[in-house]
């Protein structure tokens, strides 16, 4: 174990830990933007700077190792002043239109500017950035006028999705996230899994499918299991006014044991069939080749009566049930129990073969 002093308190941390990890273990909050525990470290945004007594330079705590005997200050006047300048630098080309931003209320840049009282940047040289917001993909918006170049999206694409569709082009004030040849995502290897959207700390990357449907602070998040393939990814349905308005990831080991927050394009952006106007909303009975609406009582009575008649006339084995790989375990159990105990046949199967 390593012993160090943070804000006057002695802290122990396993050898190999960073100062940031030591702070997190000790419950000392450190602001971070480019840091993500699941991604390769970048140490680039400098928000997590801390002061180490006796050292000439402030250290980025996300990459600085915790060392025996060092004395660390995380909110000293010098650090606070530095963070203010850093926020001004990071937001030099950030388009602060928070009132219409999808990420309003769920934006780390907004939170830190608020926390440190940074209202404008003296480094924007009067030039608003003007990157076109025109990627034609139907899944997510790319608004690089809100990008702070933390590169979490690039690293998520490399380290979680292993797709490598995007990288950083140019340097300095002109640096920008880009596909090869700065084209559209549809012309890149991008698979639209949206891991980049998941890790983006600002409003640069946001879901188009959820746009305008609800702020993060207005929605309830319900943890459930994806209904597409058999991987069993966990996802959070975002609910506002009894309506699903989006999907987000739970990134904890217990909340998301299979996928740890990673999703695919179907899981993250393919949820709005739930609200489709084509959903069936009432029982239908076919009469003379045409369907008409019916009450539950009428439909259920008809089903029970006809199944009973057919059982009597042709025997149980003239009937079959196709249960479903789509419905729950409980429903499959009930479906086979119904087939065996009520209809009296073992003719029950589902599309495992198909």
């Amino acid at each position: 174990m390593i012993t160090l002093t943070i804000n006057g308190k002695e802290v122990q941390t396993p050898k190999g830990s960073t100062i940031l990890e030591a702070c997190q273990q000790a419950g000392i909050p450190i602001p971070t933007l480019c840091y993500d525990p699941d991604l390769r470290l970048a140490g680039s945004c400098r928000m997590c700077l801390v002061e180490i007594k006796g050292r000439p330079l402030y250290a980025a705590s996300c990459v600085a190792p915790a060392e025996n005997g060092i004395v660390v200050e995380t909110e000293s006047p010098g650090i606070v002043a530095a963070r203010k300048v850093i926020l001004e630098l990071l937001s030099a080309r950030h388009n602060f239109n928070c009132q219409v931003c999808e990420k309003n209320g769920n934006c780390k840049l907004q939170d830190y500017c608020y926390q440190y009282g940074v209202k404008e940047s003296r480094f924007n040289y009067g030039e608003p950035t003007n990157y076109p917001i025109n990627d034609p993909n139907p899944f997510f918006e790319r608004d690089y006028n809100k990008c702070i170049m933390c590169t979490r999206c690039v690293r998520a694409c490399e380290d979680i999705s292993i797709v490598r569709a995007i990288s950083v082009e140019n340097r300095g004030h002109h640096a920008k996230i880009s596909t090869a040849f700065d084209g559209n995502l549809t012309d890149s290897p991008c698979v639209f899994c949206g891991q980049c959207v998941m890790v983006c700390p600002t409003g640069a990357l946001t879901s188009k499918v959820s746009a305008g449907l609800g702020r993060s602070y207005e929605v309830d998040k319900v943890l459930t299991t994806c209904s597409y393939c058999g991987t069993g990814c966990t996802l959070e349905l975002n609910v506002k006014d009894d309506r699903v308005v989006g999907v987000t990831s739970n990134r904890t080991d217990t909340g998301s044991p299979v996928n740890k927050g990673a999703l695919c394009v179907k899981g993250r952006f393919g949820w709005d069939f739930i609200n489709s106007p084509e959903r069936l909303t009432t029982p239908l009975i076919k009469e003379n080749g045409e369907f008409r609406k019916a009450s539950w009582d009428e439909a259920l009575d008809l089903v029970a009566k006809r199944l009973g008649e057919i059982k009597t006339e042709f025997g149980a084995d003239s009937m079959a049930v196709f249960t479903s790989a789509r419905v729950t375990n409980e429903e499959n159990y009930i479906a086979q129990k119904f087939t065996r105990a009520v209809l009296g046949t073992n003719n029950v199967d589902h599309c495992a073969r198909l």
Partner: protein, 529 residues
Amino acid sequence: MTNSIGELEKDANCIFVIGSNTTENHPVIGMKIKKNVLQNGARLIVADPRRTDLAKIADVYLPHLPGSDVALVNGMMNVIISEGLADLDFIAQHTEGFEEMAALVAKYTPEFVAPITGVPAEDIRKAARLYAESGNSAICYAMGLTQHRTGTDNVKSVCNLAMLTGNIGRPGTGVDPLRGQNNVQGACDMGGLPNVFTAYQAVTNDATQEKFEQAWGVSLPSQNGLVLTEVINKAHHGDIKALYVVGENPMMSDPDLVHVEDALEKIDFVVVQDIFFTETAKCADVVLPSACFAEKDGTFSNTERRVQRVRKAVSAPGEARVDWEILCEVATRMGYPMNYDNSEQIFEEIRTLTPSYAGISYQRIENGGLQWPCATEEHPGTPYLHKDGNFSRGLGAFTAIDYIAPGELPDENYPLRLTTGRSLFHYHTGTMTRRASALNEHVPTAELEVNPEQANALGIANDDMVSVSTRRGRLEMKAKVTDTIAPGVIFTTFHFTETPANLLTSSEFLDPTAKIPEYKVSAAIVEKI
């Protein structure tokens, strides 16, 4: 899966993917495999007639012809045995039937197998050595392996391969079917099959039957029932009078759709219970509206046997109701009262009758899920099966399997092999994804993948409209000329009601054991329109 998804990212030193386009059909598993290969240095072997994303990063890519899987795997085993790479200790201690299997594969030399599979002999040798010599090797497969008249043989072949090298019963090894539907594992576990109750307890076993008769208070049939494809065939002959379909869409998913439609028309009474008015609902007498996954509580079991919670987030639209409630209503009206307060109460009943689920409760899976078998409340769940080579039947059984050609091989009139599958952007019969706005906008139609060599010979350019015909039917769609598909093979997806690919597939050639149709090989002809 014998093993767990996470092991493919960390523990496997070599992964053999056969008949699975993992990055499109199981994208998150695909990410884990890619991570292991590109960042941890795991080796990768991919056998697939299409040069998938995984094939592009594979150490060895085997573009074998659809339907030649047994020959390919026998070829690999031939190399492993003849080069002394078999795990003879494991074979001696934990298996039986090795000699017979070894005698059979003796003739499957790489040179013998090469013309059957279309794969160069040297690549078969490389793949065999890599799989046998990498330490922990895992096999992943999907419907590309199973949807053949020899589907059962194909699966037994990869089991042979795993046992031959002792690659079973440790993290990062095993035989891992990547299952295609959210709860296909659970539907099987729950006895949604004609021959078993929950946890694969045979309906023909007297003691099991008695157990369920006591629990359910009713006498039960003891004969195996009909599988789905048999139901359709029997219906065709007028022998099925009533069909109750819960959340399935045979009018898109079953082979030879003209045959399916004829069959459904001959059934006196068809009930369809679904969330949308599907192609199958059109053939129904009564359609019942049900709730989707976001509108109900319950559990799904994923491909690694992990039982996880499904939680209700919103109300179902209109009068739609959850599926179990509807079935209980019908049962009650038929004189067998079925009453449950909630899904948890049903799960508690399941536990009492299902040994592998007995230790699982809603409370225990509140955070993270549990992998069966899980016999008691203290059992931590089972991340991988057959630990230390202990198979459920005692000794692992090798099976000597000869190669059998697909039912419908190319001929003069139908010179190509059509194979079908899914796109990343759609799911199964498209019922959900065709109504998911972004997915459908991004990929609104099917395409026919054609190799450039083939396209050239037929005078077809990219995006040309073409017709594709088999003995069952004809479809028109855009051609996608791509060198990611082997010459002589064409591919399309089966999601689109406008171009239902299963109009083309055959219901004639079923696997004799699993009764799975041969979706992956149909003799076809392509013409420019």
